[in-house]
């Protein structure tokens, strides 16, 4: 399988006054196309910090993040938004949808950030929402969508820029058990169908059954 993302011995240290907190400690892992990687661990184990570094949102204190063969952890702040737009799609635990935008417009945001013209974003957003089973609710605002529907919108948004990597932070945390299972299944289907590399941070045992690989994080280290 083609390797799309690699983290090499990354460490993240936060210095708070005299206290030194090692959030992620010498973690190395790889992520391949068509693969679902599950990162599990208790709260405070450094899962989200690791995901932030994989998504080029947070710069590691030490180590390298390599995307598509290019070391991105050393790139300037001006270049990183481009890398995120190009390679990474995010799905957030608390959805982070724009309340002033409809479901389709929430998806369109990413397409507009990529500089698509005025007609295409709408059509593409509708196709993506159809794909995640929300074809009937494209003009609904987030306040009128259920938790599961909101999560589907975030998947559509994550896919909108056609990234190689999808990073999902606790996708089932705010969902009931049945809906959680549905969205995880959907995420895996999307990954396999469109050959995306998916990394899911979760402590939901339901996710284990869907993952190709699982890594356990504890105190910032892989166990």
């Amino acid at each position: 399988m083609e390797r799309i993302l690699e983290v090499k011995d990354i460490t993240k240290v936060y210095q708070e006054g005299n206290i030194r907190v090692v959030a992620v400690d010498s973690v190395s892992l790889t992520l391949n196309r068509g693969e679902v990687l599950l990162i599990m661990g208790p709260s405070g184990s450094g899962k989200s910090t690791l995901l932030s570094m994989m998504g080029c949102i947070l710069r590691p204190t030490q180590g390298e993040v390599i995307i598509n063969g290019q070391v991105v952890s050393d790139l300037s702040e001006d270049t990183l938004p481009y890398i995120r737009r190009q390679y990474i799609g995010f799905s957030f635990q608390s959805f982070n949808l724009f309340p002033s935008l409809t479901a389709s417009e929430n998806v369109e945001v990413v397409l507009r950030l990529k500089g698509l013209n005025k007609k295409r974003p709408r059509q593409k957003a509708l196709n993506l929402l159809e794909k995640v089973g929300l074809g009937e609710r494209v003009d609904f605002y987030p306040r009128d969508l259920s938790g599961g529907e909101k999560q589907r919108v975030t998947f559509a948004r994550a896919l909108a820029g056609d990234p190689s990597i999808i990073l999902a932070d606790e996708p089932t945390a705010n969902l009931d058990s049945k809906t959680g299972r549905e969205v995880l299944g959907l995420l895996k289907d999307l990954a396999v169908e469109s050959a995306k590399a998916v990394a899911i941070v979760s402590h939901d045992p339901k996710a284990e059954a869907l993952a190709h690989r699982i890594v356990f994080l504890e105190d910032g280290r892989i166990k």
Partner: protein, 375 residues
């Protein structure tokens, strides 16, 4: 990203309404203050601006157009003698009391001009002609004075400083800064109407040059030879008059400060709204950053919101002023508004609002997109 700015603004209608109300009122206040100030300055300098003269010669140390002191009229010969002078003319400016039909009296400003040349004559006539004052005790009163003097009918006789004058014409829209009604009459009668300007005395000598490019030399020469007078270019006298009312009396400063305060209030309202909006939507902006937006993309959203607020608020305020203008002017308040003023104040308002959005932009600069992973 203007798209996102618009969507967010429209989504929060209550906030949008309050912001627009604030900017609208700020606009109304700024436009009325600036308009009234310019209107008053327009009245203060109206006769200077509408008299076709390049040079104004007045009594020594004159403060402004309305406070002229008399000086010997024969000095006109010194002015006429200068080869570069095309013509020179005398003008009387004095004050008097007009007896009203109800027995009361009203102070009036009197302008005496030569009806043969028409220099200093009323420039906008409703009834009659400037030359109608020739040959007797005839006068022209401005139509707007009806508010103070009562009905003005052509042919009626009025008592001015115990002398009877016949109304032969009505001018249109000519007012003095002091708001006293303006009465035009022939130069000779203005000299004799009141004790301030006596026979063989004048208030001003005005002159037209053959070649306006030589104005500095002529003014310099006249200042050197006419030690008991002040000599101004037309623009210089306008400036002197405007500065007197604006700075020396503090009147203009009052208008200026109110206009600045109104602008500051408008800017503060937009700034406060945009800042509160930014703080409330930090997570959304963080999400945008995580999704690949550059800081510049988010700045565009914030500045667009400030610009849209300022633009709409200014438009509504301007439309209101245009509709209310007639009523304001009918109430006797001078209001000068031109496309130039609307455009200038628009850019000032936009600039103020954009500057007020600066603090929001600063907050975005330091925004860490990692926040999107915090539930």
């Amino acid at each position: 990203m203007i798209w996102l700015a618009l969507k967010t603004l429209i989504h929060e209608k209550g906030r949008l309404f309050i912001t627009l109300m604030g900017i609208t009122f700020s606009t109304i206040l700024v436009l009325t203050q600036v308009g009234i100030y310019l209107g008053m300055m327009g009245y203060a300098t109206a006769i200077i601006r509408h008299t076709d003269a390049d040079i104004w010669i007045a009594s020594k140390n004159i403060q402004n157009f309305d406070f002229a002191l008399p000086f010997p009229e024969e000095r006109i010969n010194r002015v006429s003698a200068i080869p570069d002078v095309l013509w020179a003319e005398r003008l009387v400016l004095t004050w008097g009391f007009l007896k009203l039909t109800d027995g009361g009296q009203e102070q009036v400003q009197i302008v005496g001009y030569n009806p043969d040349t028409g220099i200093g004559a009323p420039w906008s006539m409703l009834v009659g002609s400037p030359s109608d004052v020739k040959g007797g005790r005839y006068m022209i009163i401005d139509k707007t004075s009806e508010q103070r003097l009562g009905r003005l009918e052509i042919g009626t006789v009025w008592e001015l400083n115990e002398k009877r004058f016949k109304l032969v014409g009505l001018s249109k829209g000519i007012k003095s800064f002091t708001t006293s009604p303006v009465i035009f009459m022939s130069y000779n009668h203005a000299q004799n109407v009141y004790g301030m300007v006596g026979a063989e005395q004048t208030s001003y000598i005005v002159a037209k040059l053959k070649d306006k490019r030589k104005i500095r030399e002529v003014v310099r020469d006249l200042n050197a030879t006419m030690k008991d007078n002040d000599v101004f270019t037309r623009e210089g006298f306008i400036f002197k008059t405007v500065m007197y009312w604006t700075v020396q009396t503090g009147l203009g400063m009052g208008f200026f400060l109110t206009a600045i305060l109104a602008l500051a209030i408008g800017g503060a309202i937009v700034g406060q709204t945009i800042y509160a909006n930014t703080m409330e939507h930090l997570k959304e902006f963080g999400t945008l950053k995580a999704l690949g937006a550059r800081n510049e993309d988010i700045y565009k959203v914030i500045f667009s919101q400030a610009g849209i607020n300022a633009g709409i608020g200014y438009l509504v305020g301007s439309i209101f002023i245009l509709f209310a203008r007639g009523s304001i002017e009918r109430a006797g308040v001078p209001l000068y508004l031109s496309p130039g003023i609307f455009f200038t104040l628009f850019f000032i308002m936009i600039l103020t609002c954009l500057l007020s959005a600066y603090f929001s932009v600063r907050r975005i600069k330091t925004l860490d997109p990692v926040m999107v992973f915090r539930g």
